[in-house]
């Protein structure tokens, strides 16, 4: 009987510890993949839900982007200038939806995700499901004809300047 009590006590302790270690919130994205072209913006939303029975006093959601290609450097600030959202308190069972707008700045394969943390820095970091993002290369501007323009306008002005100076010299 005494052994049984000890085992039950151990099981209860482990269960309590695992419960406190488990994330009290979940975060889900409304999409799992997106294909776009470089320079274009895309939108998605995240839903943060308090899974616990107690309110979460201060929840922060943060957007991040990871490149799956080691040769592609990602500066997330270029993709979105509004990456951190302070969601405030979440009551027990309450969910909050947040809209995100991201501009694809690099081409390649990326994972976009939202991480949720407690604003006091306690507890664990909860990450959303990944948003697999494929960004195709795109040349928006037809560069044909740029050289004649880039040389022509200053050329015409330079000729005008030479003529004006020559005329001025002849008058003197």
């Amino acid at each position: 009987m005494k052994r049984l009590l000890i085992v039950l006590l151990l099981v209860a302790t482990v269960a309590a510890q695992s419960a406190s270690a488990a994330a009290p919130v979940s975060v889900r994205l409304d999409r799992t993949s997106v294909s776009t072209r470089i320079g274009e913006k895309f939108h998605f939303s995240s839903t943060v839900r308090n899974l616990g029975s107690k309110p979460q006093p201060d929840v922060v959601a943060h957007l991040n982007i990871v490149s799956l290609d080691p040769s592609v450097y990602v500066d997330p600030e270029d993709w979105s200038s509004h990456r951190t959202r302070y969601l405030g308190a979440l009551g027990a069972g309450e969910a909050r939806r947040t809209e995100w707008t991201v501009q694809a700045v690099n081409s390649g394969r990326f994972v976009v995700y939202v991480a949720v943390v407690d604003r006091n820095g306690q507890g664990s970091v909860t990450a959303s499901n990944p948003l697999a993002t494929t960004v195709a290369k795109k040349r928006r501007l037809n560069s044909g004809g740029v050289v004649p323009l880039a040389l022509g306008v200053p050329g015409v002005l330079a000729i005008g300047l030479v003529l004006v100076r020559r005329r001025r010299r002849s008058l003197i």
């Binding site: 470089i38 320079g39 274009e40 600030e77 200038s81 509004h82 700045v105 081409s107 795109k138 040349r139 928006r140 501007l141 037809n142 560069s143 004809g145 740029v146 050289v147 323009l149 880039a150 040389l151 306008v153 200053p154 002005l157 330079a158 005008g160 300047l161 004006v164 100076r165 001025r168």
Partner: protein
């Protein structure tokens, strides 16, 4: 440099018009304005070439590429106006020609108006140069017309502001070097808020700074029209600061420029 050697026979023309004509002749026929316009076109050529061919810049959505070129054109175009206006009175003082100018029958405020209008012609010249570049980048998406129209309106507003500012500083400065230095410093200060990191532009303080700064607010408004397709009346409150700045700068130039006089030791 304005001289009134032939002003008397053309008596029908008001003094400010005579001054404007003479200043325009000095600026354009002497090649000073053309030199600045040539430098401006070289800058636009480099920008346009990079936007069109460089992989790192070419990702820009076409509207954003138009906006980038337009903003550079408007900002540097008004810098040229500032250089012209900042030289207007202090330059005459330094070249020893202010006395003869002040002895003419033209009221001093009309001298200031004439010199201001001549300085504004530099913006018109810069805008004419800007047109083919904006057309080239914006072709195919029907945005060049809107971009050029809004760029001309915003650029003219900023040009009036910096012309007034340059004349005001030129009237108060002791030397031409001082006038040009202060003018460039002030202009750089106006450019600064627009160059702040994106994060710093958020929040009420960043927003307020952008709205107070005539340059940042005008360029922000221009970006909204060109990139986001806003109508002219939408978010027009962003124009409040440049309009107020233009009125204050021109009024200051007329008040202080109207009192410009020789200082001790300036008589040749």
């Amino acid at each position: 440099m304005t001289t009134f050697e032939h002003a008397a026979p053309r008596t029908a023309a008001p003094a400010w018009l005579v001054v404007t004509g003479q200043e325009l002749h000095d600026l354009w026929a002497a090649g000073r304005a053309l030199t600045m316009t040539l430098a401006f076109s070289l800058l636009l050529s480099i920008t346009t070439y990079l936007v069109a061919t460089n992989q790192a810049l070419n990702f820009l959505e076409q509207r954003e590429a138009v906006n980038l070129t337009l903003q550079i054109g408007v900002a540097v175009g008004s810098l040229i106006v500032l250089l012209g206006a900042a030289d207007a009175l202090s330059g005459e003082r330094e070249r020893g020609t202010l006395e003869s100018l002040l002895l003419t029958p033209a009221p001093r405020r009309e001298l200031v108006i004439g010199k201001g209008l001549a300085a504004l012609s530099l913006w018109l010249g810069a805008f004419v140069v800007l047109v083919p570049y904006v057309w080239f980048i914006g072709r195919g998406i029907n945005i060049a017309g809107v971009a050029l129209l809004s760029g001309f309106a915003i650029g003219t507003l900023l040009a009036v502001f910096v012309a007034g500012l340059g004349l005001l500083i030129s009237a108060l400065a002791g030397s031409n070097r001082m006038s040009l230095s202060i003018s460039l410093f002030v202009l750089l200060a106006f450019y600064a808020p627009n160059q702040m990191p994106t994060g710093a532009q958020h929040g009420w303080a960043g927003d307020l700074l952008l709205r107070i700064d005539p340059y940042s607010s005008a360029l922000h408004y221009l970006g909204k029209i060109v990139v986001d397709g806003y109508s002219a009346g939408q978010d027009a409150t962003w124009l409040l600061s440049p309009v107020i700045a233009a009125v204050v700068a021109v009024a200051g130039a007329l008040i202080f420029g109207g009192k410009v006089s020789l200082r001790a030791g300036e008589r040749p």
